[in-house]
Amino acid sequence: MAAIVCKEITKRYGNHQVVHKFDLSVRENEFVVFLGPSGCGKSTILRMLAGLEEISDGELTIAGKVVNDLPPRDRDIAMVFQNYALYPHMTVFDNIAFGLKRLKVAKAEIARRVRDVASMLGLETYLERKPAALSGGQQQRVAIARAMIKTPAVFLFDEPLSNLDAKLRNHMRVEIARLHQSLKTTTVYVTHDQLEAMTLADRIVLLKDGRIEQLGTPKEIYENPRTKFVASFIGTPSMNFIDMVVSSQGGNFVLTSGETRLVVQKVRYDLQAGQTVTVGIRPAHLEPAGENRDNNIIAGVVDLIEYLGNETLVNFALGTVEIGALLDAGTSPQIKQSCRLTVNEKHIHIFDRESELSLICKPS
């Protein structure tokens, strides 16, 4: 049975529609991430799931029960907020126990459960402190403990790591992944950080302007982006885009832009001769070309090098666009040297210039 079913969920503020007929079915124990730029409606949808925001239209089912008109407390959910939202006047213990106190759980039982949750998250020594006396990471752990103690059917996370510094964020991300592995609670997690989405999600819902841009596993979304927007949003460094003109040559399409010429098999793409398309190539898929290779060559003079340790991000101009390539740090060319790169045909993405939809007809 699906844990959460959204059927044509819509959100309007007056005449302004921010979420358009959102359809999603989250399976039991699944970890779903809503990913998108700010203003894409991801937090609004999460808040509608939580019951903090009214649903303008559509039907929301949680654990088999239509919850559209139920208050948060009757939805069997728990939520972790971006700013932790701890009660500043209560100790960590009281923060965690606050939800149970309303349910009139016996004192001894509350104490036992708080201690259980606190020990899972390494908070035992902080129980008597006030939130202000904790670091950001500890506060976020308290917020997670407060959500966990209610043993809800669904966890909702609203950008829980965005207030933490980079190192702590990585650490907490791993902790959240571990927690989900052990608790298996169905989780909906909102973020604008594609790395968080890729590493945590069973499935990613990529949103743009209140609509689903693509829904799939991180691998599906990375390898077969449905639109140019998805392709540019996922993956660091981000994908290179080159506008090219299509011509037909036997069983192949030839894509040209200035000196650059790419040859791809007709069966894989849905193209017309004479059409202008946007070609996308990830920096990681560019590799040094052998001497005697002469097709699918992208070449230029290096104008910027960013050293990343194992790899360097080599930048050069190709016509009017700047191309980035992730190359092995040991063999990468130096600045002002020319570099000659190639790409495997299966890593070439082609998008319609107008609709920005992918023109790959047979995903590899």
């Binding site: 903090l52 407390r73 939202a85 701890l86 009660y87 006047h89 309303r102 008597e128 209610k150």
Partner: protein, 271 residues
């Protein structure tokens, strides 16, 4: 204090300002224990034989005792009622804004824009008609208008500063709107709210003009009684005046002390 003075010069300046602010009060305090001759001597006297005569005179007078009780009852009740009505009102305006919120805020404060006389004259007519002129009830109700508007005005920003997410967390934790108000919003905003309550208390405790116009004998408050000491003729009884100023100043000080003690204990409380 979080601010640390860095140089001795800034400490000196600070000390100077504190002396300027506190010295007159200190001098009044000193004078309240002096005989009249020590007060009116041409060289200021720091050393003298203290006397309690001034206090005995002031506190011994029946109208002072009566005024003190009036002031405590009237200021206390009007602050209590003003807080009980004003704090929830401020919360409602801050948390559930509607198209009238701005008007409500302006209207509430407009009472304070008018000169007190303009407020007092119609009130005289109203209380006379109702047969409540020169009663504590009339003053309590009148002062409640002042305390309530002040408390609402000062409490709205206090509640606006409570992060909305904290209240939402409480809602997700299962609490209804009243519980969210009493268990989360109120304690989190308490520090600023108590400031508002203290301010409104001082406002009505020191209020003079309206009290002067709305009372003739029974409901006179302490400021009115104290002012009457100056009407005793050309021979100003300085010692008595100073003693009455101290008597007048003590209750607000005690009130502030009690309230801030209450804040501290509330904030330190473990449970």
């Amino acid at each position: 204090m979080a601010v640390k003075s860095k140089s001795p010069v800034s400490k000196l300046v600070l000390a100077g300002l504190v002396i300027i602010a506190v010295f007159p009060i200190f001098w009044v305090f000193l004078n309240s224990f002096k005989q009249l001759v020590d007060i009116v001597s041409t060289t200021p006297k720091f050393f003298f034989t203290p006397t309690l005569d001034n206090y005995i005179y002031v506190l011994g007078r029946e109208n002072v005792q009566h005024g003190l009780i009036n002031s405590i009852v009237i200021a206390g009740s009007s602050v209590l009622i003003g807080a009980a009505l004003g704090i929830p009102a401020a919360y409602a305006v801050a948390r559930y804004p509607n198209r009238f919120s701005d008007d409500i805020q302006f209207f509430v404060l407009s009472l304070r824009f008018l000169p007190p006389v303009a407020v007092a004259i119609p009130l005289i007519a109203i209380w006379l008609d109702l047969g409540l002129y020169d009663t504590r009830t009339a003053l309590i109700i009148t002062y409640t208008l002042l305390t309530m508007s002040t408390i609402i005005w000062l409490s709205i920003p206090a509640f606006s500063r409570v992060p909305r997410e904290i209240e939402e967390a409480a809602i997700v934790d299962g609490y209804g709107p009243y519980a969210v108000f009493f268990k989360v919003a109120l304690p989190v905003a308490a520090k600023s709210l108590i400031g508002a309550v203290i301010f409104s208390f001082i406002l009505v405790w020191n209020e003079f003009l309206i009290a002067l116009m709305l009372t003739t004998s029974d409901a006179k408050t302490l400021p009115i009684i104290a002012s009457e000491f100056t009407l005793l003729g050309r021979n100003v009884p300085w010692g008595i005046l100073n003693a009455s100023v101290i008597v007048l100043s003590l209750p607000p000080l005690i009130f502030v002390g009690v309230m801030s003690g209450f804040i501290n204990s509330a904030l330190k409380k473990k449970d």
